[in-house]
């Protein structure tokens, strides 16, 4: 079982569906398990329905400690499969080119910039 390959395939598939406008990304509050008992901050969470599954895409800000009390914030991206809008049953957090591209496309679609421009 090649998990890297499956993850990349899923992200690529979602890029294709987003470009074809077959999936609709909506801004939503992050699921309960992503925002509870953690200091991580999710500035933007997008969700879509794909083949009867809820797929979440999010920006994540995490503390990176350089010493006991000094830290700076780092940013990465995440993709997850959510159940009942609160349980994250699968997730990957990284800053891969495909995930960056998918997040850009999804936020562009959710922002409705093309509608604003009347395109």
């Amino acid at each position: 079982m090649n998990l890297t390959n499956e993850k990349e395939q899923l992200i690529t598939q979602l890029i294709r569906e987003t470009l074809a406008k077959s999936v609709v990304w909506n801004v939503q509050p992050p699921p309960y398990s992503l925002r509870t008992a953690t200091e991580n901050f999710v500035p933007l969470y997008l969700q879509c329905q794909y083949r009867n599954r809820d797929i979440g895409l999010y920006e994540l800000r995490q503390k990176y400690f350089t010493d006991e009390e000094s830290f700076f914030w780092t940013e990465s991206l995440g993709i997850c499969i959510v159940q009942d809008n609160q349980y994250v049953i699968w997730q990957i957090e990284e800053y891969s080119p495909s995930l960056k591209e998918l997040f850009q496309l999804a936020r562009h679609q959710a922002a409705g910039i093309r509608d604003l421009l009347g395109m």
Partner: protein, 142 residues
């Protein structure tokens, strides 16, 4: 020829010369490794940036029709060229991953390949770029 030194000094000098030669060889090997490590430190982040740009281009090309496929073909060739340039500087285990991508991609674009095939290459390219990103982080500690 008459030697003014006792035999034991000559023997010691010979042993030290042989020992010195072995140390020189080891140091040369170490210097080569350090050089490779410096090249890795400098080149991998640059190649990652270039591969990210190529991945972005690939998506833009695949949105166009036949013209886009041709452009995608060129982009994939550029990605292979970049990876081939870094391959010799990588360690054996890292080399295997990069070589696997190069071999599979060359095989794919060597035959008849459609849009779906290029999307599959996009997936693999993204995976190998992420792998190199992590490698770039690791070599910072070397």
């Amino acid at each position: 020829m008459t030697s003014y030194l006792p035999q034991w000094i000559t023997d010691l000098a010979t042993i030290l010369t042989i020992g010195g030669f072995i140390i020189t060889l080891l140091l040369l090997r170490e210097a080569k490794e350090i050089r490779k490590s410096f090249i890795r430190k400098a080149r991998i982040p640059e190649i990652v940036t270039d591969l990210e740009r190529i991945s972005k281009e690939l998506i833009a090309h695949l949105q166009n029709s036949q013209e886009g496929i041709r452009a995608a073909h060129e982009s994939v060739h550029r990605a292979i060229g970049l990876l081939e340039s870094i391959e010799s500087k990588l360690s054996e285990s890292d080399k295997t991953k990069v070589n696997e991508f190069i071999r599979n991609t060359k095989k794919a674009i060597g035959g008849t390949i459609d849009e779906n095939g290029y999307w599959a290459i996009y997936s693999s390219l993204s995976a190998i770029t992420t792998y190199l990103q992590q490698l770039a982080k690791d070599v910072r500690w070397n």
